[in-house]
C-alpha cells in the first residue's frame, strides 16, 4: 500500500481521493495558513491545496479538517 493511502479517516489524500463524486471521499488535511475564507492545507502525504473554509469557520492553523471537493465540511476529532 502506498504511504499516501495510509490516511485518516479513510484512505483518501489530496492526490488520491478515489471517486470524488462519491460522498465518501472525505480527505483529512491540516491547516497550514488561513487567508480569509481560504486556507492552505496539507494532507499526511505532504500534498497541499487551497481549501474553502466558510462552512467550518472559525479555523486555526494546525487544526485537522475533513474536506471534500476543495471545501472543508467538518473537523476531525469533532468530539475530542
Amino acid at each position: 500500500m502506498r504511504e499516501a493511502e495510509s490516511m485518516l479517516p479513510g484512505y483518501c489524500t489530496l492526490d488520491h481521493d478515489g471517486c470524488v463524486t462519491c460522498s465518501d471521499a472525505g480527505i483529512p488535511v491540516r491547516v497550514v495558513s488561513v487567508d480569509g475564507y481560504d486556507a492552505l492545507c496539507e494532507d499526511a502525504a505532504g500534498n497541499r491545496a487551497e481549501i474553502a473554509v466558510e462552512l467550518v469557520e472559525p479555523v486555526g492553523v494546525g487544526e485537522v479538517l475533513l474536506t471534500h471537493g476543495g471545501v472543508a465540511i467538518g473537523r476531525v476529532e469533532a468530539e475530542a
Binding site: 471517486c19 462519491c22 465518501d24 472525505g26 462552512l55 471534500h68 467538518g74 469533532a78
Partner: protein, 374 residues
C-alpha cells in the same frame, strides 16, 4: 501513524470478528446493508467479508451517486457540453459514465470543450478566466458534495459572475433508503449509515429507520476496524433487541451535523418533487435543484433541458444490484461485456461502484463461496 495503526490492527480485527461471531445466532440469517459506496470499497479492499460468519451477509446499497444517475441525465449533460460556447466541467468519474450515445470523454475527443475539475470552485475559476464563454458545472453527489456546490454558487452570486451555471444532479440519502425499506423484495435487518454524508446532515435524519421500520442503524467510519466495530454494534443491538441510531464515527460526525453547511444548502437548493434513480425509479423529494434565489445559475433553465428518459441497456442489471437483490457477479454481463475498462452499467464505472469494487477486490472470495457451496 495515528488513526491508521489502531484502525487497521489485525489482532483487534480478529477480536472484534470473534465478538461478532459470538453474537451470531447459527439459525438466523442477518442481512446488513452498507448504504455508502465507500464502505463497499473498504469491505472488499480489506476482506471484511471473509472475517464474518456465513450467517452475516452484507448487502450493497445505493450510495454511489454516479451509479444511481439515470442515462437521460448523462445525455442531457452531453447535449449541453456539445454547445460551442460552453466549457463543460465535471468530476473525473463523470467523464466515463455511459449515456445512450457515448460518454463525455468520447464527446471531448470529438472536440467539445470538456474539462475535468477537482472542485466546483475550479469551475468557477475557469468562468472568471473565460468571461466570453459559458461555463457549466455538472454537479453530482450526496449531501457530502452538495455543500461544495452551494458554497461555489454563493461565491458566484456574491462576485456577480454571470457566465457560470450548474447542471444540478445532487441527490439525498434518506428517500432512497426509505424506498428500499418499502420494497417488498428485500428484507434487511440493519443499516451501516454513511460516514461523510453524516458529517453534513448528522445522525438525526436516520431516526426513521428504528422508529418507522424497526431497523437499527450505526453511522460508520471508513477504516476496516470502523466497519467491523459498526457490525459488532449492530449485532449487539439485534442480540439485545434494541433498535436505535448509534454513531461509531464520533471522531468526525457530530450528532447534529454541520449546521453551517446545512444553512448553506437550505439557501441555495430546494427539493425536487421527484427524481429518477437508476434501478429504483422515481422517488419523491429525493434530489435537489437550485432555489428561486439562484435560478439565474440553473443550467436546466438556461439551456432548457427537456428532461428526457432513456432506458438502460437490456443486458444491464444495475437496478437489481443497486437494490441488493443481485450480487454483482450474478449479473449476466459482469466481467464479460461489462468491465471497468469498458463499463456497460454505471456500477462498473466508479471505483466505489459495487461492481467495480467486486471486480477489483472481491472475485476471489466469491469464487471461494461458490466452490464451497457446491
Amino acid at each position: 501513524m495515528k488513526y491508521v495503526d489502531e484502525f487497521r490492527n489485525g489482532e483487534i480485527a480478529r477480536a472484534v470478528a470473534a465478538g461478532i461471531a459470538s453474537l451470531t445466532d447459527p439459525d438466523r440469517h442477518y442481512k446488513i446493508m452498507e448504504v455508502c459506496g465507500g464502505h463497499t470499497h473498504t469491505i472488499y479492499r480489506h476482506g471484511i467479508k471473509d472475517l464474518l460468519p456465513d450467517q452475516v451477509e452484507l448487502v450493497h446499497g445505493p450510495g454511489c451517486p454516479v451509479c444511481v444517475l439515470p442515462m437521460g441525465r448523462v445525455d442531457e449533460g452531453i447535449e449541453i457540453a456539445e454547445r460551442p460556447q460552453v466549457i463543460f466541467t465535471c468530476f473525473g468519474d463523470m467523464m466515463r459514465v455511459p449515456g445512450s450515445r457515448g460518454n463525455l470523454l468520447e464527446v471531448k475527443a470529438e472536440g467539445a470543450d470538456i474539462r475535468m475539475v477537482y472542485s466546483p470552485l475550479d469551475a468557477l475559476r475557469i468562468a472568471r478566466e473565460n468571461p466570453d464563454r459559458e461555463v457549466v458545472f455538472y454537479a453530482i453527489g450526496f449531501e457530502t458534495t452538495a455543500p461544495s456546490t452551494a458554497l461555489t454558487l454563493q461565491r458566484a452570486k456574491k462576485e456577480g459572475i454571470e457566465n457560470f451555471s450548474v447542471f444540478c444532479n445532487h441527490v439525498t440519502i434518506v428517500p432512497p433508503v426509505r424506498a428500499l425499506l418499502d420494497s417488498p423484495d428485500l428484507r434487511l435487518d440493519a443499516f451501516i449509515g454513511p460516514g461523510h454524508v453524516s458529517t453534513v446532515i448528522g445522525c438525526r435524519p436516520y431516526e426513521f429507520m428504528p422508529e418507522d421500520y424497526g431497523k437499527p442503524c450505526v453511522v460508520a467510519g471508513f477504516e476496516p476496524l470502523d466497519l467491523l466495530q459498526s457490525i459488532l454494534m449492530l449485532m449487539r443491538q439485534l442480540d439485545e433487541e434494541r433498535c436505535e441510531v448509534e454513531n461509531q464515527y464520533g471522531r468526525v460526525v457530530l450528532w447534529e451535523g454541520n449546521l453551517q453547511a446545512l444553512k448553506s444548502l437550505a439557501e441555495v437548493f430546494e427539493l425536487r418533487p421527484y427524481f429518477e434513480w437508476r434501478g429504483l425509479g422515481f422517488i419523491a423529494q429525493s434530489a435537489l435543484k437550485l432555489s428561486a434565489a439562484y435560478a439565474d445559475f440553473d443550467a436546466e433553465l438556461r439551456y432548457s433541458t427537456p428532461g428526457v428518459r432513456v432506458a438502460d441497456p437490456k443486458a444491464c442489471q444495475c437496478g437489481e444490484v443497486l437494490k441488493g437483490v443481485l450480487k454483482p457477479p450474478e449479473c449476466k454481463v459482469f466481467g464479460t461485456a461489462c468491465t471497468p475498462e469498458r463499463p456497460l452499467g454505471a456500477l462498473m464505472v466508479s471505483s466505489e461502484g459495487a461492481c467495480a469494487a467486486y471486480y477489483n477486490f472481491g472475485r476471489k472470495s466469491f469464487e471461494k463461496v461458490e466452490i464451497g457451496s457446491r
